[in-house]
Subunit: 155 residues, 2 copies
């Protein structure tokens, strides 16, 4: 709270608050809809999407944690809970005991396939339909600009 | 997974994935920075900002839950943990025992004031600086369009 703090201007504040509200409300709403329709959390959904997009449906726990920006230990606990529900299995690396893999099960694939149409319909209704294709392109461009800067910023 | 599911087109998919990545990475990064600098989570921060913006620094637990899009019971547990750290106090309504208020303490105000310059600096570096004012305006406009549609959508 010093004189030198570069507080946000009103238009900057407006843009930032819009993003925070969008983040809270859109993710909150989608989570509730996905949960109600499929019994899965958005993290379950994200894990299954990540796994089904790679050959053999198999990733390291660490890669999965990075893809979803979770701490590795938190992701590891989450994977244990998904494994209990039969959606994934853990597979240890035969040559390096420190490396753990996660593999999607046939049941995990079926659960995702059953949930996906509902999820896509919700994304379309809440995010795609309110915008023109031009606005969607602008949104993607702006988001990617921020993401690229974050990659460069090693703080 | 039926023929009639309106799957996303490639440009739609691109826009949606950009938002999800932005959401994960930007919120993840900010959370880690705020936590490292102030010992507060982004939810602690959001609660203190909401309380310090209203007269008397006082809100109903339910209003706070709505503002941050949390379930009321989860917010109530979170408030209990913040109260233990002296950042807020609970205040019961004298005329209606079902209504609970939360009030920010002087210590909560000081903690927020100490954390705010770091938080603003991080927001500026990660979100404001990479964009032009025109892009910030476009981003806010697009976000608000989606938010307005969500308000109308009662699903």
């Amino acid at each position: 709270m010093t004189e030198t703090t570069p507080w946000l201007t009103d238009p900057e504040q407006h843009a930032w608050r819009s993003f925070i509200r969008l983040h809270h409300k859109l993710i909150g709403r989608l989570s509730r809809e996905v949960q109600a329709e499929s019994g899965m959390s958005t993290t379950d959904y994200g894990v299954l999407v990540s796994l089904t997009e790679v050959p053999d449906g198999k990733l390291r726990v660490l890669e999965l944690a990075k893809a979803l920006e979770w701490e590795k230990s938190r992701m590891s606990h989450h994977i244990d809970r998904m494994a209990k529900r039969g959606l994934v299995v853990r597979e240890d690396c035969p040559t390096d005991r420190r490396v753990a893999f996660v593999v999607v099960t046939p049941e995990g694939r079926e659960t995702l396939a059953a949930a996906a149409p509902h999820h896509v319909a919700a994304v379309r209704r809440l995010f795609i339909d309110p915008l023109t294709q031009e606005e969607l392109d602008a949104f993607a461009k702006i988001s990617n600009r921020i993401l690229e800067r974050m990659e460069e910023d090693s703080t």
